[in-house]
Protein backbone atom coordinates (compact mmCIF):
# COMPACT_ATOMS: atom_id res chain seq x y z
CA UNK A 1 0.00 0.00 0.00
CA UNK A 2 2.83 2.38 0.88
CA UNK A 3 4.36 2.73 -2.60
CA UNK A 4 0.89 3.37 -4.02
CA UNK A 5 0.28 6.08 -1.48
CA UNK A 6 3.63 7.66 -2.25
CA UNK A 7 2.78 7.68 -5.93
CA UNK A 8 -0.56 9.38 -5.27
CA UNK A 9 1.12 11.99 -3.06
CA UNK A 10 3.79 12.60 -5.68
CA UNK A 11 1.45 13.30 -8.58
CA UNK A 12 -1.09 15.20 -6.49
CA UNK A 13 0.46 18.71 -6.91
CA UNK A 14 0.11 18.43 -10.68
CA UNK A 15 -3.63 18.19 -10.37
CA UNK A 16 -4.18 20.89 -7.78
CA UNK A 17 -4.77 24.56 -8.53
CA UNK A 18 -1.99 25.91 -10.71
CA UNK A 19 -0.76 22.46 -11.63
CA UNK A 20 -0.33 21.16 -15.14
CA UNK A 21 -3.44 18.97 -15.10
CA UNK A 22 -5.70 21.26 -13.10
CA UNK A 23 -8.60 20.44 -15.43
CA UNK A 24 -8.43 16.80 -14.48
CA UNK A 25 -8.45 17.43 -10.72
CA UNK A 26 -11.87 15.88 -10.30
CA UNK A 27 -10.84 12.73 -12.12
CA UNK A 28 -7.71 12.48 -10.01
CA UNK A 29 -9.68 13.06 -6.84
CA UNK A 30 -12.02 10.23 -7.75
CA UNK A 31 -9.17 7.76 -8.02
CA UNK A 32 -7.46 9.06 -4.92
CA UNK A 33 -10.53 8.63 -2.72
CA UNK A 34 -11.19 5.30 -4.34
CA UNK A 35 -7.84 4.05 -3.11
CA UNK A 36 -7.55 5.79 0.27
CA UNK A 37 -9.89 7.32 2.79
CA UNK A 38 -9.57 11.08 2.23
CA UNK A 39 -7.61 12.95 4.88
CA UNK A 40 -10.21 15.68 5.26
CA UNK A 41 -10.57 17.00 8.79
CA UNK A 42 -13.60 18.82 10.04
CA UNK A 43 -12.58 22.30 11.11
CA UNK A 44 -15.71 23.70 12.67
CA UNK A 45 -17.73 22.20 15.50
CA UNK A 46 -17.36 18.60 16.54
CA UNK A 47 -18.91 15.77 14.73
CA UNK A 48 -18.13 12.19 13.95
CA UNK A 49 -17.20 11.04 10.50
CA UNK A 50 -18.44 7.54 9.86
CA UNK A 51 -15.97 5.33 8.04
CA UNK A 52 -19.00 4.09 6.07
CA UNK A 53 -19.06 6.90 3.52
CA UNK A 54 -20.79 6.63 0.19
CA UNK A 55 -17.87 4.87 -1.46
CA UNK A 56 -17.82 2.12 1.17
CA UNK A 57 -21.59 1.75 0.95
CA UNK A 58 -21.36 1.24 -2.76
CA UNK A 59 -18.54 -1.27 -2.35
CA UNK A 60 -20.78 -3.29 -0.04
CA UNK A 61 -23.44 -3.46 -2.72
CA UNK A 62 -20.80 -4.59 -5.22
CA UNK A 63 -19.77 -7.36 -2.82
CA UNK A 64 -23.42 -8.37 -2.53
CA UNK A 65 -23.59 -8.54 -6.32
CA UNK A 66 -20.61 -10.90 -6.68
CA UNK A 67 -22.53 -14.18 -6.16
CA UNK A 68 -25.15 -13.09 -8.68
CA UNK A 69 -22.51 -12.06 -11.20
CA UNK A 70 -20.53 -15.30 -10.88
CA UNK A 71 -23.63 -17.44 -11.10
CA UNK A 72 -24.86 -15.40 -14.05
CA UNK A 73 -21.60 -15.97 -15.92
CA UNK A 74 -21.79 -19.69 -15.36
CA UNK A 75 -25.44 -19.84 -16.32
CA UNK A 76 -24.83 -18.02 -19.61
CA UNK A 77 -22.33 -20.74 -20.54
CA UNK A 78 -24.53 -23.52 -19.17
CA UNK A 79 -27.56 -22.40 -21.17
CA UNK A 80 -25.47 -21.99 -24.31
CA UNK A 81 -24.00 -25.48 -24.23
CA UNK A 82 -27.34 -26.95 -23.22
CA UNK A 83 -29.02 -25.23 -26.16
CA UNK A 84 -26.54 -26.48 -28.76
CA UNK A 85 -26.63 -29.90 -27.18
CA UNK A 86 -22.94 -30.18 -26.27
CA UNK A 87 -21.70 -31.69 -23.04
CA UNK A 88 -19.28 -29.26 -21.43
CA UNK A 89 -17.12 -29.10 -18.34
CA UNK A 90 -17.95 -26.63 -15.59
CA UNK A 91 -14.90 -24.56 -16.43
CA UNK A 92 -15.80 -24.37 -20.12
CA UNK A 93 -19.25 -23.16 -19.26
CA UNK A 94 -17.88 -20.52 -16.95
CA UNK A 95 -15.27 -19.30 -19.42
CA UNK A 96 -17.86 -19.04 -22.20
CA UNK A 97 -20.07 -16.98 -19.90
CA UNK A 98 -17.11 -14.85 -18.84
CA UNK A 99 -16.31 -14.04 -22.47
CA UNK A 100 -19.93 -13.05 -23.09
CA UNK A 101 -20.58 -11.10 -19.90
CA UNK A 102 -17.30 -9.29 -19.26
CA UNK A 103 -17.50 -7.04 -22.35
CA UNK A 104 -21.00 -5.94 -21.31
CA UNK A 105 -19.76 -5.04 -17.83
CA UNK A 106 -16.78 -3.15 -19.26
CA UNK A 107 -18.90 -1.22 -21.78
CA UNK A 108 -21.45 -0.33 -19.13
CA UNK A 109 -18.77 1.01 -16.79
CA UNK A 110 -16.82 2.81 -19.50
CA UNK A 111 -19.87 4.59 -20.92
CA UNK A 112 -21.35 5.53 -17.56
CA UNK A 113 -18.13 6.63 -15.93
CA UNK A 114 -17.17 8.71 -18.96
CA UNK A 115 -20.40 10.68 -18.55
CA UNK A 116 -19.89 10.96 -14.80
CA UNK A 117 -16.36 12.31 -15.22
CA UNK A 118 -17.43 14.81 -17.89
CA UNK A 119 -20.23 16.17 -15.72
CA UNK A 120 -18.03 16.28 -12.63
CA UNK A 121 -15.46 18.34 -14.54
CA UNK A 122 -18.04 20.73 -16.02
CA UNK A 123 -19.86 21.27 -12.75
CA UNK A 124 -16.73 21.06 -10.64
CA UNK A 125 -17.97 18.61 -8.06
CA UNK A 126 -16.58 15.31 -6.87
CA UNK A 127 -17.04 12.32 -9.11
CA UNK A 128 -19.87 10.49 -7.38
CA UNK A 129 -19.63 6.84 -6.64
CA UNK A 130 -23.25 6.08 -7.41
CA UNK A 131 -22.36 4.71 -10.79
CA UNK A 132 -20.15 1.97 -9.37
CA UNK A 133 -23.33 0.11 -8.50
CA UNK A 134 -25.47 1.16 -11.46
CA UNK A 135 -22.68 0.11 -13.81
CA UNK A 136 -22.74 -3.37 -12.33
CA UNK A 137 -26.54 -3.61 -12.16
CA UNK A 138 -27.07 -2.73 -15.82
CA UNK A 139 -25.26 -5.82 -17.22
CA UNK A 140 -27.04 -8.07 -14.74
CA UNK A 141 -30.57 -7.15 -15.84
CA UNK A 142 -30.18 -7.56 -19.59
CA UNK A 143 -29.82 -10.70 -21.71
CA UNK A 144 -26.29 -11.79 -22.54
CA UNK A 145 -27.07 -11.46 -26.24
CA UNK A 146 -27.61 -7.67 -26.11
CA UNK A 147 -25.33 -5.87 -28.61
CA UNK A 148 -22.64 -3.84 -26.87
CA UNK A 149 -23.45 -0.54 -28.55
CA UNK A 150 -27.00 -0.77 -27.23
CA UNK A 151 -25.62 -1.25 -23.73
CA UNK A 152 -23.55 1.90 -24.21
CA UNK A 153 -26.45 3.97 -25.58
CA UNK A 154 -28.79 2.83 -22.81
CA UNK A 155 -26.20 3.54 -20.13
CA UNK A 156 -25.50 7.02 -21.45
CA UNK A 157 -29.22 7.75 -21.66
CA UNK A 158 -29.82 6.50 -18.13
CA UNK A 159 -26.95 8.46 -16.61
CA UNK A 160 -27.78 11.73 -18.37
CA UNK A 161 -31.59 11.68 -18.35
CA UNK A 162 -32.03 9.60 -15.22
CA UNK A 163 -29.41 11.21 -13.03
CA UNK A 164 -27.43 14.17 -14.26
CA UNK A 165 -30.39 16.33 -15.30
CA UNK A 166 -31.73 16.05 -11.78
CA UNK A 167 -28.40 17.10 -10.27
CA UNK A 168 -26.37 13.90 -10.10
CA UNK A 169 -26.05 11.13 -7.55
CA UNK A 170 -28.59 11.30 -4.76
CA UNK A 171 -30.95 13.59 -6.68
CA UNK A 172 -32.39 11.09 -9.14
CA UNK A 173 -36.07 10.22 -8.86
CA UNK A 174 -35.69 7.01 -10.86
CA UNK A 175 -33.34 4.10 -10.49
CA UNK A 176 -30.73 4.67 -13.26
CA UNK A 177 -30.05 0.99 -13.88
CA UNK A 178 -33.73 0.23 -14.33
CA UNK A 179 -34.07 3.26 -16.56
CA UNK A 180 -31.34 1.81 -18.78
CA UNK A 181 -33.28 -1.44 -18.99
CA UNK A 182 -36.55 0.35 -19.66
CA UNK A 183 -34.81 2.29 -22.43
CA UNK A 184 -33.58 -0.93 -24.04
CA UNK A 185 -36.94 -2.58 -23.56
CA UNK A 186 -38.89 0.13 -25.36
CA UNK A 187 -36.24 1.22 -27.85
CA UNK A 188 -35.10 -2.19 -29.09
CA UNK A 189 -37.91 -4.54 -28.07
CA UNK A 190 -36.74 -7.39 -30.28
CA UNK A 191 -33.51 -7.62 -28.28
CA UNK A 192 -35.17 -7.79 -24.89
CA UNK A 193 -38.11 -10.03 -25.48
CA UNK A 194 -38.79 -13.23 -27.31
CA UNK A 195 -36.08 -15.82 -27.69
CA UNK A 196 -32.99 -13.79 -26.97
CA UNK A 197 -32.11 -15.20 -23.60
CA UNK A 198 -29.45 -17.66 -24.68
CA UNK A 199 -26.15 -16.31 -25.96
CA UNK A 200 -24.89 -17.61 -29.27
CA UNK A 201 -25.21 -17.00 -32.98
CA UNK A 202 -28.40 -17.72 -34.87
CA UNK A 203 -26.96 -20.67 -36.78
CA UNK A 204 -25.79 -22.34 -33.60
CA UNK A 205 -29.13 -21.94 -31.91
CA UNK A 206 -31.33 -22.75 -34.87
CA UNK A 207 -34.54 -24.31 -33.70
CA UNK A 208 -33.73 -23.99 -30.03
CA UNK A 209 -36.40 -22.42 -27.90
CA UNK A 210 -34.99 -20.04 -25.33
CA UNK A 211 -38.14 -18.87 -23.66
CA UNK A 212 -38.10 -17.77 -20.03
CA UNK A 213 -40.73 -19.16 -17.65
CA UNK A 214 -42.62 -15.86 -17.91
CA UNK A 215 -42.64 -16.05 -21.69
CA UNK A 216 -43.79 -19.66 -21.51
CA UNK A 217 -46.74 -18.58 -19.39
CA UNK A 218 -47.53 -15.53 -21.50
CA UNK A 219 -47.51 -17.40 -24.80
CA UNK A 220 -49.01 -20.51 -23.31
CA UNK A 221 -46.62 -22.98 -24.93
CA UNK A 222 -43.22 -24.44 -24.15
CA UNK A 223 -41.92 -26.37 -21.19
CA UNK A 224 -42.27 -24.86 -17.77
CA UNK A 225 -39.16 -25.46 -15.63
CA UNK A 226 -39.69 -26.93 -12.18
CA UNK A 227 -39.80 -24.71 -9.13
CA UNK A 228 -36.44 -26.09 -8.01
CA UNK A 229 -34.80 -25.16 -11.31
CA UNK A 230 -36.20 -21.65 -11.05
CA UNK A 231 -35.03 -21.35 -7.47
CA UNK A 232 -31.51 -22.50 -8.32
CA UNK A 233 -31.48 -20.42 -11.48
CA UNK A 234 -30.55 -22.94 -14.17
CA UNK A 235 -33.06 -21.36 -16.55
CA UNK A 236 -32.78 -18.87 -19.42
CA UNK A 237 -33.11 -15.23 -18.43
CA UNK A 238 -31.24 -11.98 -17.96
CA UNK A 239 -27.65 -12.48 -16.81
CA UNK A 240 -28.09 -11.92 -13.10
CA UNK A 241 -31.74 -12.46 -12.39
CA UNK A 242 -32.22 -16.21 -12.72
CA UNK A 243 -30.82 -17.59 -9.50
CA UNK A 244 -32.87 -16.90 -6.39
CA UNK A 245 -30.20 -18.63 -4.29
CA UNK A 246 -27.41 -16.30 -5.37
CA UNK A 247 -29.71 -13.32 -4.87
CA UNK A 248 -30.56 -14.47 -1.36
CA UNK A 249 -26.82 -14.59 -0.56
CA UNK A 250 -26.58 -10.99 -1.75
CA UNK A 251 -29.64 -10.08 0.29
CA UNK A 252 -27.96 -11.39 3.44
CA UNK A 253 -24.90 -9.23 2.78
CA UNK A 254 -27.08 -6.16 2.19
CA UNK A 255 -29.21 -6.67 5.28
CA UNK A 256 -26.30 -7.50 7.60
CA UNK A 257 -24.29 -4.46 6.52
CA UNK A 258 -27.40 -2.31 6.82
CA UNK A 259 -27.19 -1.09 3.23
CA UNK A 260 -30.41 -2.62 1.95
CA UNK A 261 -33.70 -2.15 3.73
CA UNK A 262 -35.19 -5.37 5.05
CA UNK A 263 -38.57 -3.65 5.37
CA UNK A 264 -38.73 -3.01 1.64
CA UNK A 265 -37.60 -6.53 0.73
CA UNK A 266 -40.15 -8.18 3.00
CA UNK A 267 -43.02 -5.97 1.96
CA UNK A 268 -42.31 -6.50 -1.75
CA UNK A 269 -42.42 -10.25 -1.17
CA UNK A 270 -45.62 -9.87 0.86
CA UNK A 271 -47.20 -7.77 -1.89
CA UNK A 272 -46.29 -10.31 -4.55
CA UNK A 273 -47.69 -13.21 -2.54
CA UNK A 274 -50.84 -11.27 -1.70
CA UNK A 275 -51.61 -10.36 -5.29
CA UNK A 276 -50.65 -13.83 -6.51
CA UNK A 277 -53.04 -15.30 -3.95
CA UNK A 278 -55.89 -13.01 -4.96
CA UNK A 279 -55.41 -13.85 -8.63
CA UNK A 280 -55.41 -17.53 -7.70
CA UNK A 281 -58.95 -17.12 -6.45
CA UNK A 282 -60.26 -15.84 -9.79
CA UNK A 283 -57.89 -17.90 -11.96
CA UNK A 284 -59.31 -17.53 -15.45
CA UNK A 285 -56.13 -18.28 -17.38
CA UNK A 286 -53.01 -20.38 -17.00
CA UNK A 287 -50.97 -17.45 -15.70
CA UNK A 288 -53.37 -16.91 -12.82
CA UNK A 289 -53.37 -20.54 -11.79
CA UNK A 290 -49.71 -20.80 -10.88
CA UNK A 291 -48.99 -20.88 -7.14
CA UNK A 292 -48.22 -17.40 -5.73
CA UNK A 293 -44.70 -18.34 -4.63
CA UNK A 294 -43.81 -19.04 -8.27
CA UNK A 295 -43.91 -15.30 -8.84
CA UNK A 296 -41.08 -14.82 -6.37
CA UNK A 297 -38.68 -17.14 -8.16
CA UNK A 298 -39.63 -16.31 -11.75
CA UNK A 299 -38.15 -13.52 -13.82
CA UNK A 300 -36.68 -10.49 -12.16
CA UNK A 301 -38.80 -10.48 -9.02
CA UNK A 302 -36.10 -11.60 -6.61
CA UNK A 303 -33.39 -9.46 -8.20
CA UNK A 304 -35.60 -6.40 -8.27
CA UNK A 305 -36.69 -6.92 -4.69
CA UNK A 306 -33.18 -7.16 -3.31
CA UNK A 307 -31.12 -4.80 -5.45
CA UNK A 308 -33.52 -2.42 -7.18
CA UNK A 309 -36.41 -1.68 -4.85
CA UNK A 310 -34.01 -1.05 -1.96
CA UNK A 311 -32.07 1.66 -3.81
CA UNK A 312 -31.71 4.20 -0.98
CA UNK A 313 -32.11 7.21 -3.27
CA UNK A 314 -35.25 6.41 -5.22
CA UNK A 315 -37.11 4.39 -2.54
CA UNK A 316 -39.30 5.81 0.20
CA UNK A 317 -37.36 7.20 3.13
CA UNK A 318 -39.87 6.92 5.96
CA UNK A 319 -40.43 3.68 7.87
CA UNK A 320 -44.13 3.32 7.16
CA UNK A 321 -43.54 4.65 3.67
CA UNK A 322 -41.16 1.76 2.98
CA UNK A 323 -43.88 -0.78 3.79
CA UNK A 324 -46.39 0.93 1.50
CA UNK A 325 -43.81 1.38 -1.24
CA UNK A 326 -42.67 -2.24 -1.10
CA UNK A 327 -46.15 -3.68 -0.87
CA UNK A 328 -47.32 -1.76 -3.91
CA UNK A 329 -44.27 -2.86 -5.91
CA UNK A 330 -45.10 -6.48 -5.20
CA UNK A 331 -48.78 -6.05 -6.01
CA UNK A 332 -48.14 -4.11 -9.22
CA UNK A 333 -45.48 -6.52 -10.44
CA UNK A 334 -47.78 -9.51 -10.28
CA UNK A 335 -50.67 -7.49 -11.66
CA UNK A 336 -48.67 -6.32 -14.70
CA UNK A 337 -47.31 -9.80 -15.30
CA UNK A 338 -50.63 -11.55 -15.19
CA UNK A 339 -53.12 -9.02 -16.49
CA UNK A 340 -51.16 -7.30 -19.25
CA UNK A 341 -50.04 -9.81 -21.87
CA UNK A 342 -47.80 -7.25 -23.59
CA UNK A 343 -45.42 -7.11 -20.63
CA UNK A 344 -44.64 -10.58 -19.30
CA UNK A 345 -42.17 -9.03 -16.83
CA UNK A 346 -43.64 -6.42 -14.51
CA UNK A 347 -40.84 -5.85 -12.01
CA UNK A 348 -39.08 -3.12 -13.94
CA UNK A 349 -42.23 -1.12 -14.63
CA UNK A 350 -43.57 -1.59 -11.10
CA UNK A 351 -40.39 -0.32 -9.47
CA UNK A 352 -40.04 2.65 -11.83
CA UNK A 353 -43.68 3.51 -11.22
CA UNK A 354 -43.30 3.37 -7.46
CA UNK A 355 -40.04 5.35 -7.65
CA UNK A 356 -42.14 8.19 -8.98
CA UNK A 357 -44.62 7.80 -6.14
CA UNK A 358 -42.05 7.43 -3.34
CA UNK A 359 -41.85 11.18 -2.56
CA UNK A 360 -45.65 11.38 -2.44
CA UNK A 361 -45.85 8.45 -0.02
CA UNK A 362 -43.20 10.07 2.16
CA UNK A 363 -45.04 13.36 2.12
CA UNK A 364 -48.26 11.85 3.42
CA UNK A 365 -46.48 9.73 6.01
CA UNK A 366 -44.73 12.81 7.37
CA UNK A 367 -47.97 14.81 7.31
CA UNK A 368 -49.82 12.12 9.25
CA UNK A 369 -47.02 12.07 11.85
CA UNK A 370 -47.31 15.81 12.24
CA UNK A 371 -51.07 15.56 12.60
CA UNK A 372 -50.84 12.83 15.22
CA UNK A 373 -48.34 14.77 17.28
CA UNK A 374 -50.41 17.92 17.04
CA UNK A 375 -53.38 16.00 18.42
CA UNK A 376 -51.25 14.67 21.23
CA UNK A 377 -50.14 18.21 21.98
CA UNK A 378 -53.74 19.38 22.22
CA UNK A 379 -54.55 16.72 24.80
CA UNK A 380 -51.87 18.02 27.17
CA UNK A 381 -53.50 20.71 29.32
CA UNK A 382 -51.81 24.03 28.78
CA UNK A 383 -49.74 25.14 31.74
CA UNK A 384 -50.71 28.42 33.18
Amino acid sequence: MKPLQNLVEKVKPHFEKGGRFEKFYRSFEAFETFLFVPGNVTTRGSHIRDAMDMKRTMVHVIIALVPVLLFGMWNVGYQHFKAIGVEAEFIDQFVYGLIKVLPIVIVSYAAGLAIEFIFASIRDHEVNEGFLVSGMLIPLIIPASTPLWMVAVATIFAVIIGKEVFGGTGMNILNPALLARAFLFFAYPSYLSGEVWIAGTAEQLDGVSGATPLAVLAIGEGDMPSAMEMFLGTIPGSIGETSTVAILLGAIVLVVTGVGSLRIMLSVVAGGLLMGGILNLVAVNEFMEIPPYYHLIMGGFAFGTVYMATDPVSASQTGVGKYIYGLLIGVLTVLIRVVNPAYPEGMMLAILFMNVFAPLIDHYVVQSHIKKRMQRMEKIPAKA
Binding site: P147, W149, M150, I161, V165, F183, F186, A187, Y188, P189, Y191
Partner: protein, 219 residues
Protein backbone atom coordinates in the same frame (compact mmCIF):
# COMPACT_ATOMS: atom_id res chain seq x y z
CA UNK B 1 -56.75 52.74 -26.08
CA UNK B 2 -56.28 56.44 -25.75
CA UNK B 3 -52.56 56.18 -25.06
CA UNK B 4 -52.13 53.96 -28.09
CA UNK B 5 -53.76 56.54 -30.32
CA UNK B 6 -51.63 59.35 -29.01
CA UNK B 7 -48.41 57.50 -29.80
CA UNK B 8 -46.48 58.74 -32.82
CA UNK B 9 -46.84 56.58 -35.89
CA UNK B 10 -44.01 54.07 -35.95
CA UNK B 11 -42.57 52.24 -38.90
CA UNK B 12 -43.82 48.75 -39.71
CA UNK B 13 -40.66 47.05 -38.50
CA UNK B 14 -39.56 49.37 -35.73
CA UNK B 15 -37.35 47.86 -33.03
CA UNK B 16 -40.42 47.38 -30.85
CA UNK B 17 -42.27 45.51 -33.55
CA UNK B 18 -39.24 43.43 -34.41
CA UNK B 19 -39.03 42.39 -30.81
CA UNK B 20 -42.60 41.10 -31.02
CA UNK B 21 -41.49 38.86 -33.82
CA UNK B 22 -38.15 37.65 -32.46
CA UNK B 23 -38.71 37.33 -28.72
CA UNK B 24 -41.00 34.30 -29.00
CA UNK B 25 -38.34 32.55 -31.06
CA UNK B 26 -35.85 32.62 -28.24
CA UNK B 27 -36.12 34.01 -24.75
CA UNK B 28 -39.93 34.11 -24.68
CA UNK B 29 -40.57 30.89 -26.55
CA UNK B 30 -44.08 29.58 -25.93
CA UNK B 31 -42.89 25.99 -25.53
CA UNK B 32 -39.41 26.28 -24.05
CA UNK B 33 -40.06 29.14 -21.66
CA UNK B 34 -43.80 29.43 -21.14
CA UNK B 35 -44.33 25.67 -21.44
CA UNK B 36 -47.59 25.96 -23.41
CA UNK B 37 -48.91 23.75 -26.18
CA UNK B 38 -46.95 20.70 -25.04
CA UNK B 39 -49.66 18.16 -25.91
CA UNK B 40 -49.47 18.68 -29.64
CA UNK B 41 -45.66 18.54 -29.49
CA UNK B 42 -45.92 15.06 -28.00
CA UNK B 43 -48.57 13.90 -30.41
CA UNK B 44 -47.56 14.91 -33.90
CA UNK B 45 -43.75 15.06 -33.95
CA UNK B 46 -43.10 11.44 -34.89
CA UNK B 47 -42.31 12.61 -38.41
CA UNK B 48 -40.86 15.82 -39.72
CA UNK B 49 -43.55 16.09 -42.40
CA UNK B 50 -46.44 16.17 -39.95
CA UNK B 51 -44.52 18.60 -37.75
CA UNK B 52 -44.02 20.90 -40.71
CA UNK B 53 -47.68 20.85 -41.74
CA UNK B 54 -48.75 21.41 -38.14
CA UNK B 55 -46.33 24.32 -37.76
CA UNK B 56 -47.59 25.99 -40.93
CA UNK B 57 -51.21 25.46 -39.87
CA UNK B 58 -50.62 27.03 -36.48
CA UNK B 59 -48.78 29.99 -38.05
CA UNK B 60 -51.74 30.60 -40.34
CA UNK B 61 -54.38 30.22 -37.64
CA UNK B 62 -52.53 32.35 -35.17
CA UNK B 63 -51.63 35.14 -37.55
CA UNK B 64 -55.22 35.53 -38.76
CA UNK B 65 -56.82 35.01 -35.35
CA UNK B 66 -54.68 37.72 -33.80
CA UNK B 67 -55.50 40.18 -36.59
CA UNK B 68 -59.24 39.46 -36.49
CA UNK B 69 -59.49 39.74 -32.71
CA UNK B 70 -57.39 42.88 -32.81
CA UNK B 71 -59.75 44.43 -35.38
CA UNK B 72 -62.77 43.49 -33.30
CA UNK B 73 -61.19 44.37 -29.97
CA UNK B 74 -63.18 47.51 -29.26
CA UNK B 75 -66.50 45.88 -30.17
CA UNK B 76 -66.15 42.65 -28.15
CA UNK B 77 -68.01 42.85 -24.83
CA UNK B 78 -65.53 41.72 -22.16
CA UNK B 79 -67.96 39.22 -20.65
CA UNK B 80 -68.21 37.08 -23.77
CA UNK B 81 -64.71 37.63 -25.14
CA UNK B 82 -63.62 34.01 -24.64
CA UNK B 83 -66.56 32.75 -26.69
CA UNK B 84 -65.79 35.23 -29.44
CA UNK B 85 -62.13 34.21 -29.45
CA UNK B 86 -63.06 30.56 -29.64
CA UNK B 87 -65.45 31.18 -32.52
CA UNK B 88 -62.77 33.00 -34.47
CA UNK B 89 -60.15 30.30 -33.83
CA UNK B 90 -62.59 27.50 -34.58
CA UNK B 91 -63.63 29.03 -37.90
CA UNK B 92 -59.99 29.38 -38.93
CA UNK B 93 -59.18 25.83 -37.84
CA UNK B 94 -62.08 24.50 -39.89
CA UNK B 95 -60.69 26.35 -42.89
CA UNK B 96 -57.22 24.90 -42.33
CA UNK B 97 -58.66 21.44 -41.84
CA UNK B 98 -60.60 21.63 -45.10
CA UNK B 99 -57.57 22.90 -47.00
CA UNK B 100 -55.39 20.09 -45.63
CA UNK B 101 -58.02 17.52 -46.52
CA UNK B 102 -58.23 18.89 -50.03
CA UNK B 103 -54.53 19.13 -50.82
CA UNK B 104 -52.55 16.84 -48.50
CA UNK B 105 -55.05 14.19 -47.56
CA UNK B 106 -52.49 11.66 -46.31
CA UNK B 107 -50.92 14.04 -43.83
CA UNK B 108 -54.32 15.30 -42.80
CA UNK B 109 -55.23 11.75 -41.91
CA UNK B 110 -52.02 11.27 -39.93
CA UNK B 111 -52.66 14.45 -37.99
CA UNK B 112 -56.21 13.18 -37.36
CA UNK B 113 -57.82 14.99 -34.46
CA UNK B 114 -54.83 17.18 -33.77
CA UNK B 115 -55.75 19.65 -36.50
CA UNK B 116 -59.08 20.11 -34.77
CA UNK B 117 -57.32 20.36 -31.45
CA UNK B 118 -55.43 23.46 -32.62
CA UNK B 119 -58.51 25.19 -31.20
CA UNK B 120 -57.50 24.13 -27.72
CA UNK B 121 -53.83 25.06 -28.17
CA UNK B 122 -53.18 27.25 -25.16
CA UNK B 123 -50.68 29.39 -27.05
CA UNK B 124 -53.36 30.76 -29.38
CA UNK B 125 -55.88 31.62 -26.68
CA UNK B 126 -53.07 32.98 -24.55
CA UNK B 127 -51.85 35.39 -27.20
CA UNK B 128 -55.39 36.55 -28.03
CA UNK B 129 -56.08 37.28 -24.38
CA UNK B 130 -52.72 38.76 -23.55
CA UNK B 131 -51.91 40.66 -26.70
CA UNK B 132 -54.45 40.96 -29.50
CA UNK B 133 -57.21 42.27 -27.22
CA UNK B 134 -55.14 45.33 -26.35
CA UNK B 135 -53.10 46.01 -29.46
CA UNK B 136 -53.44 47.22 -33.01
CA UNK B 137 -53.72 44.74 -35.89
CA UNK B 138 -50.16 45.02 -37.22
CA UNK B 139 -48.34 44.39 -33.94
CA UNK B 140 -50.90 41.67 -33.18
CA UNK B 141 -50.14 40.04 -36.50
CA UNK B 142 -46.40 40.09 -35.79
CA UNK B 143 -46.98 38.73 -32.30
CA UNK B 144 -49.12 35.92 -33.65
CA UNK B 145 -46.65 34.99 -36.37
CA UNK B 146 -43.73 35.22 -33.94
CA UNK B 147 -45.29 32.99 -31.33
CA UNK B 148 -46.46 30.47 -33.89
CA UNK B 149 -42.98 30.42 -35.39
CA UNK B 150 -41.47 29.92 -31.95
CA UNK B 151 -43.82 26.99 -31.51
CA UNK B 152 -43.04 25.82 -35.02
CA UNK B 153 -39.27 25.62 -34.77
CA UNK B 154 -39.43 23.55 -31.60
CA UNK B 155 -41.92 21.28 -33.35
CA UNK B 156 -39.56 20.92 -36.32
CA UNK B 157 -36.53 20.28 -34.12
CA UNK B 158 -38.31 17.59 -32.13
CA UNK B 159 -39.75 16.09 -35.31
CA UNK B 160 -36.29 16.05 -36.89
CA UNK B 161 -34.65 14.10 -34.08
CA UNK B 162 -37.56 11.75 -33.61
CA UNK B 163 -37.78 10.86 -37.27
CA UNK B 164 -34.05 10.43 -37.82
CA UNK B 165 -33.46 8.27 -34.76
CA UNK B 166 -36.86 6.65 -34.58
CA UNK B 167 -37.46 5.69 -38.18
CA UNK B 168 -34.13 6.39 -39.86
CA UNK B 169 -35.82 8.67 -42.38
CA UNK B 170 -36.31 12.37 -42.99
CA UNK B 171 -39.44 13.65 -44.74
CA UNK B 172 -39.94 10.02 -45.68
CA UNK B 173 -36.52 9.54 -47.33
CA UNK B 174 -34.00 7.15 -45.77
CA UNK B 175 -31.09 9.08 -44.30
CA UNK B 176 -29.34 6.43 -42.23
CA UNK B 177 -27.03 4.65 -44.69
CA UNK B 178 -27.66 0.97 -45.25
CA UNK B 179 -24.19 -0.13 -44.17
CA UNK B 180 -24.94 1.04 -40.64
CA UNK B 181 -27.89 -1.32 -40.53
CA UNK B 182 -25.67 -4.04 -41.91
CA UNK B 183 -23.21 -3.73 -39.05
CA UNK B 184 -25.98 -3.92 -36.48
CA UNK B 185 -27.52 -0.46 -36.10
CA UNK B 186 -31.21 -0.43 -35.15
CA UNK B 187 -33.83 2.27 -35.20
CA UNK B 188 -34.74 3.39 -31.72
CA UNK B 189 -38.31 2.36 -30.99
CA UNK B 190 -38.51 4.61 -27.96
CA UNK B 191 -38.14 7.73 -30.12
CA UNK B 192 -41.50 6.96 -31.71
CA UNK B 193 -43.27 6.88 -28.35
CA UNK B 194 -44.53 10.17 -26.85
CA UNK B 195 -42.25 10.18 -23.75
CA UNK B 196 -39.25 10.72 -25.99
CA UNK B 197 -40.84 13.89 -27.39
CA UNK B 198 -41.07 15.19 -23.85
CA UNK B 199 -37.45 14.28 -23.19
CA UNK B 200 -36.35 15.89 -26.47
CA UNK B 201 -38.17 19.10 -25.54
CA UNK B 202 -36.51 18.85 -22.15
CA UNK B 203 -33.08 18.64 -23.74
CA UNK B 204 -33.84 21.66 -25.97
CA UNK B 205 -34.89 23.59 -22.86
CA UNK B 206 -31.74 22.44 -21.09
CA UNK B 207 -29.45 23.60 -23.91
CA UNK B 208 -31.29 26.91 -24.20
CA UNK B 209 -31.00 27.68 -20.49
CA UNK B 210 -27.40 26.59 -20.41
CA UNK B 211 -26.70 29.26 -23.03
CA UNK B 212 -28.95 31.93 -21.54
CA UNK B 213 -28.67 31.78 -17.77
CA UNK B 214 -31.27 34.55 -17.26
CA UNK B 215 -34.02 32.14 -18.26
CA UNK B 216 -33.37 29.79 -15.38
CA UNK B 217 -35.42 31.68 -12.81
CA UNK B 218 -38.28 32.76 -15.03
CA UNK B 219 -40.45 29.69 -14.84
Amino acid sequence: MSENNSMPKESLLSPRNKKLLTDPLGKDNPINVQVLGICSVLAITVQLRTSLVMAISVVAVMGFANVIISLLRSTIPPRIRIIVQLTVIASLVILVDQILKAFVYDISRQLSVFVGLIITNCIIMGRLEAFALNNKPWPSFLDGIGNAAGYGWVLLAVGFFREVFGSGTLMGYAVIPQFLYDIGYEDNGLMILPPMALITVGIIIWVQRYKDRRLIDIS
